[in-house]
Symmetry: C2
Subunit: 312 residues, 2 copies
């Protein structure tokens, strides 16, 4: 039986490498009991080392009531582990055949309706759930490295996933303290990885063409736009670049720069529809804050980040 999100007590983490181990540390810090499973005989030692290394950071950020590293047990038998699960988080290596096999086993061993969430960074659940008898409860819950510090989790189902399993997963992660994006369709790379991958590929092209060095590329982000992105995403940032006219002014006046060869990525046509969707989205995000408010907020944020990193 699937418990209510607030009644989850035990999370089974299947796969305890860098991502799986990061999840273990985070679930423990949020007060859950964690049963970890990994086929590698060296995994338990590595996992306990990872949790110990992450614990000071998690303590500094604030532990949930009752959070305790002692609530971690390592279970060598997958079925024994899964029998106890209120939620399974799968973090096996990115190998489709392996993911399919493991999800099938998890599905067979986990109580009916209990959600099986996958950390996959790129496969669609539709591709992975094919051998499951109960694919309706298999969901992607994609974290960012390290999962014990980065809030984002992207949640999306596959073709055979029940809509309420997707909603349950999003509700659970939100309740537990994550920042959740619930997607209504499968997009290769989800959202953050698509954006990150575009930047990564442009960077590789620049190195390959001798246009910039690795150091120049990294410096251009850490000392440039990267200082704004923990505060405001790329679209709200550009809302401020348009002056008092915001994103509308930005698109209406700088739209032609989409034809500039500023990246190897072709731009979409800036239709009225796209223009309005972006403008409306920025205005919703601004939520009544004026451009002056947002500028002041950005400045305070950039200063706080610079000071926090000892760079002021």
């Amino acid at each position: 039986m699937r418990p209510a999100p607030e009644d989850v007590r035990t999370v089974v983490c299947a796969g305890a490498g860098v991502i799986g181990g990061g999840w273990v540390a985070w679930f423990l810090a949020r007060g859950y009991r964690v049963v970890a499973w990994d086929p590698d005989p060296a995994a338990e030692d590595r996992l306990r080392h990872l949790v110990d290394a992450a614990w000071p950071a998690l303590s500094e950020l604030g532990l949930a009531d009752g959070a305790d590293r002692a609530h971690l047990s390592f279970e060598p038998d997958l079925a024994t582990a899964c029998a106890q699960a209120d939620l399974v988080q799968e973090s096996a290596p990115e190998d489709l055949a392996l993911k399919r096999r493991l999800l099938k086993e998890l599905d067979a061993a986990t109580p009916a309706d209990v959600v099986i969430s996958s950390s996959t960074s790129g496969y669609a659940m539709t591709e992975m759930q094919v051998d499951c008898a109960q694919p309706g409860r298999t969901v992607v819950g994609h974290p960012f490295n390290p999962p014990y510090l980065i809030p984002l989790v992207e949640v999306v189902g596959g073709e055979l996933t029940d809509a309420d399993a997707v909603t349950w997963t999003a509700d659970f992660f939100r309740l537990a303290g994550k920042s959740v994006i619930q997607m209504d369709r499968e997009v290769p790379g989800f959202i953050a990885n698509r954006l990150q991958e575009a930047l990564w590929r442009e960077a590789l092209h620049m190195v390959a063409a001798g246009e910039a060095t690795v150091e120049q590329i990294d410096l251009s982000i850490t000392d440039g736009p990267g200082l704004r992105w923990p505060l405001m995403g790329p679209l709200l940032t550009f809302h401020l670049a348009g002056g008092q006219g915001g994103m509308a002014h930005m698109l209406d006046h700088f739209g032609p720069s989409l034809l500039s060869p500023w990246t190897r990525l072709e731009a979409p046509e800036l239709t009225r529809e796209l223009r309005d969707a972006v403008v409306d989205g920025c205005e919703r995000e601004a939520g009544g804050r004026t451009i002056d408010d947002l500028v002041a907020e950005r400045d305070r944020g950039v200063i706080a980040v610079l000071r926090a990193l000892g760079r002021a």
Copy 2:
């Protein structure tokens, strides 16, 4: 005569909009005398308002000895302004014909050899310097918004620019406290804007295709990879994603994901040469720090950023 970088006293800021005004505030905070010029009759009031608004932030970050807002004067006549310049920073609107005309006027009015630096965010100096009698001292010095807070300046010359003018400009900005990337060739969009533009275009495609909303896109960055980018650029970040094997492991094992449809941007071929260039660059950047060192540094940094932004 071009003064030594450490002997610059007076900077002429030609164009006092959002970018030019941001430069004015920054130069004042770094202790320079600033002469501002702008053809708009309303510019002086707007500029003084901008400087006053930025001053508390600049004071908090630390003013240079002798820095004083009273060291700003507004000069309606361009030639009178330029006659006093140890450096000219041009920040006119992004319009090629206008930039050409203005650079020609600045060049005619500014003492020989004094550097004329342009804030252009996308034109090559080769395109802009065509009407100058002394194009050898015209250089791009491209800031990021707001120039009074974001450290990055990209410095690059045009075909007719003297190499020593480019080096002088880089030296001056470094001495004055900026984080400088000195490029040895003109690349459309320079470096940071190319990377930012790839991400922006992928985001627009996603909105256009209904794959993600504006809010989802921004949240995916602010609560995901954006939290790492003020600390470590995209390439050093991926150096950590490879576990103990670093970027070498990352490229050797995850290289095939470059063929995945995770963005609309085609990837370059991952040749041995490109692989080695990226691996070597990351190792130079790491400068002897182990993966464990870098992970600990990243974690401390992410926590500091989260706390600084009140999100811990």
